[in-house]
């Protein structure tokens, strides 16, 4: 902190309107990246307000500061070690008790705190009135009512924030007290801990030791192993007294404090009638109608995106190809011209005609659904199905995305809580046939062999996904987690926030995928102009011809498919010299070829996404497994179908 340059962190539960506040504060001056070494999103922004420069950090939405998810760990690390000048705790006014449970933990971390009592208007509609002055008195920190979506109260909040940071306002934050048995033991631990140097406040560490927090225990073990043993003993004592595990006792008592405070500051009057959002919730999670509604919605979205995408993609492609003559007049039609147009430009065109027409609307609708609350209902409905492959309901969302494109699917795995779950989901996701794969399934098999065979391929794919998902689930060490998720009230999505999310995601896609697609396109073009393709086709013929029973040129097509899978079909057409595949391939060959394309490798952009999320080793492992799988399944299919 310098005289007029501060850092403020926003913290709070998920779905409390935190990102809306973040957007109100920072406008376009924001940057979304990752926390160092973690695949947790870090949103930062800068704000200029009355001569002050304020950096705002939007911490992930969490319910507690324990170790359940990577997000929780990242948040408490940040608050404890980076020491922001102020933490603004965004609280959902209509869910006071659970939100205060988190507030109490922030107070325990002894960080300078301000509470933004958000969605105060919604609370009022629900019949909840809150006494802010009393809340301030009880919690000992400033409480400012806000309505993020309309920006109401936001500048009040900022002014109060500056007063607190500049110490113009005296605050005496509440120290949450536990029951006598726990307090005695906290004190014992604090006494020992005071002698050691830790990055967290001693009282917090003491509480966390009783809370059986593995990470804190690890830290303490290094400086004072004795404390850990003492804590173990104290925990056993508490478990004997209360008859529950110690973390449960601690959490339970903390909730009692939250409950008592919330009862004192809120007044609940009866709600008039069940509003539309409740009816919507009942319908979309209905035992009978829920799934049909979901299927209809998803289908409608896909049909809309693909019909728009096809149209826009063709239009963009045509526009670009009109540039071809002018490129040829500059670079000629020789090797240089070939590389510049066929390598660089076609790479760019390939990227643009995917990103803008498909990925952009895709992300927009996804975030629209997320912000409105529908995604959590989908997870609720699909939990049982996803369980069959060892995942829980939330995993359905990246899987669904993957039917469009595997890249957002892979990036979407972040919604899973643990790294084990993320990896498992990513593995499943890369096996899902994306839009480009569907083009081949329908364009080759559907067109020339029969639609029932195309459907059969989808079914085979689903079976493979289920089987492999299960195997990976069993093979991967670590414990599975189950679905535990909030289904917050439906609300009208905040379009600005949705648009921004979409924009950042699109940018991420472009930054990650474009260089790979372009570089890959140039490499293959070089191979083409230097006549390397033929030798490659010959080299791969033991696999393509002998094992899979395909024409030798498919080796080349499959290599192109690494760039983008739909290229396999385009390449095949140009290599075989016809678009009437029935003349040059047998139905069995088409089926085998499609099977291999469907499974063989995540495309280069997907590999990029995997590397970004999981590192080289895991990305490579998944790639190799899938190549092997594709060859295995392809070979078996060839033999079965030619019996």
């Amino acid at each position: 902190m310098t005289n007029n340059h501060f850092t403020i962190a926003l913290a709070g539960n998920a779905n409390v309107g935190k990102s809306v506040i973040f957007n109100q504060l920072t406008g376009l001056h924001q940057h979304i990246g990752n926390w160092p070494g973690k695949t947790v999103e870090k949103a930062e922004g800068t704000l200029h307000f009355k001569g002050y420069t304020i950096d705002i950090i939007d911490l992930p939405g969490i319910y507690s500061l324990s170790t359940f998810s990577i997000e929780e760990l990242v948040s408490r690390e940040y608050i404890a070690t980076e020491k922001p000048d102020l933490v603004i705790n965004v609280v959902d006014a209509s869910l006071l008790e659970r939100n205060l449970f988190f507030t109490l933990q922030l107070l325990e971390l002894e960080t300078p705190l301000l509470i933004a009592l958000n969605q105060i208007d919604m609370a009022k509609k629900k019949g909840i009135l809150i006494d802010c002055q009393k809340a301030e008195k009880l919690l000992g920190v400033p409480v400012v009512p806000t309505v993020a979506v309309s920006g109401k109260g936001v500048s009040d909040m900022l002014e109060t924030a500056i007063q607190v940071i500049e110490k113009k306002r005296k605050i005496v934050p509440l120290k949450p007290r536990y029951g006598k048995e726990i307090e005695e033991r906290i004190e014992k631990l604090v006494k020992i801990l005071n002698k050691t140097q830790l990055k967290y406040p001693s009282r917090w560490v003491a509480i966390k030791l009783l809370d059986e927090d593995k990470e804190v225990e690890k830290d303490v073990q290094q400086v004072s192993p004795k404390t850990v043993t003492v804590a173990q003993k104290l925990r056993a004592e508490l478990e004997d007294i209360h008859g529950h595990s110690c973390p449960t006792v601690v959490t339970s008592e903390r909730y009692q404090v939250a409950s008592r405070i919330s009862k004192e500051i809120q007044q609940i009057t009866k709600q008039v009638k069940a509003p539309l959002r409740e009816k919507l919730h009942t319908a979309t999670t209905h035992k009978v109608f829920g799934v049909p509604i979901m299927l209809a919605v998803i289908l409608a979205v896909f049909v809309a995106i693909f019909s728009f995408g096809d149209f826009a993609s063709a239009l963009l492609g045509d526009l670009f190809f009109e540039l071809k003559p002018s490129f040829e007049s500059v670079f000629g039609t020789g090797i240089v011209g070939e590389l510049v147009w066929g390598g660089l430009m076609e790479g760019i065109i390939g990227g643009v005609t995917v990103a803008l027409p498909y990925i952009l609307p895709f992300y927009f609708i996804l975030y629209l659904f997320e912000d409105s609350g529908y995604l959590s209902r989908i997870a609720f409905l699909m939990d049982n199905l996803m369980h069959k492959m060892g995942l829980h309901g939330k995993a359905f969302i990246p899987v669904m995305l993957s039917f469009g494109c595997n890249v957002p699917g892979c990036l979407g795995c972040r919604i899973m809580e643990t790294s084990r779950e993320r990896l498992l989901t990513a593995f499943v996701v890369t096996l899902v046939p994306c839009a480009a794969t569907s083009v081949i399934i329908l364009g080759l098999v559907g067109n020339y062999v029969g639609i029932q065979w195309a459907l059969a391929l989808y079914i085979v794919n689903l079976v493979i996904i289920f089987v492999l998902g299960r195997i990976a689930f069993k093979a991967l060490p670590g414990e599975p987690t189950e679905l535990i998720m909030e289904m917050s009230d439906y609300r009208v999505p905040h379009i600005k926030t949705v648009a921004k999310q979409t924009w950042f995601r699109l940018k991420e896609f472009i930054v990650m995928a474009f260089p790979l697609i372009i570089a890959g396109s140039i490499v293959i073009k070089i191979a083409e102009v230097t006549n390397l393709l033929e030798p490659i086709a010959n080299l791969s013929s033991p696999i393509t011809v002998a094992w899979l029973g395909l024409p030798a040129v498919t080796g080349i097509a499959l290599i192109f498919g690494v760039l983008r899978k739909e290229l396999t079909l385009i390449m095949l057409a140009s290599l075989l010299g016809t678009t009437n595949f029935a003349l040059v391939m047998t139905p069995v060959q088409m089926i085998v070829f499609t099977l291999v394309v469907m499974l063989y490798i995540p495309c280069v952009a997907t590999i990029g996404a995997l590397v970004k999320e999981f590192g080289w080793k895991k990305a490579l492992t998944i790639t190799v497994i899938e190549i092997a799988l594709a060859l295995l399944v392809g070979g078996i299919a060839f033999r079965l179908l030619t019996i």
Binding site: S66, T67, E239, G393
Partner: protein
């Protein structure tokens, strides 16, 4: 009556007894507090998550409904609406008046 949360009817309200149990044979075992049950208990992280979301012993919980095909439960606790997997829910013991 002490029952797992999964055996409540839709709309029924009960008080949570404990979140760390499992049924072993017909006997109820409670994590750590009862000896003789050595089998691995539910993921501790999940229990932590449950309690962090407000499902602590002594809390009132209402089952709203379950998802189709025997899916997760929709419950209401401390004014918020949660979805929890069936496996997790079956390890939450509640006391219900019938």
């Amino acid at each position: 009556m002490e029952l797992p949360l999964t055996s409540l009817k839709n709309g029924e309200t009960a008080v949570i007894q404990s979140t760390d149990c499992r049924l072993e044979g017909k006997k109820l075992c409670r994590n750590k507090t009862k000896k003789g049950c050595n089998k691995k208990f539910a993921n501790e992280l999940c229990i932590k998550r449950l309690t962090d979301l407000g499902l602590t012993p002594g809390t009132k919980v209402t089952v709203i409904k379950s998802a189709p095909f025997n899916g997760p439960l929709e419950i209401s606790v401390r004014g918020s609406r949660l979805a929890i997997g069936r496996g997790m829910a079956s390890r939450i013991l509640v006391d219900v008046e019938r």
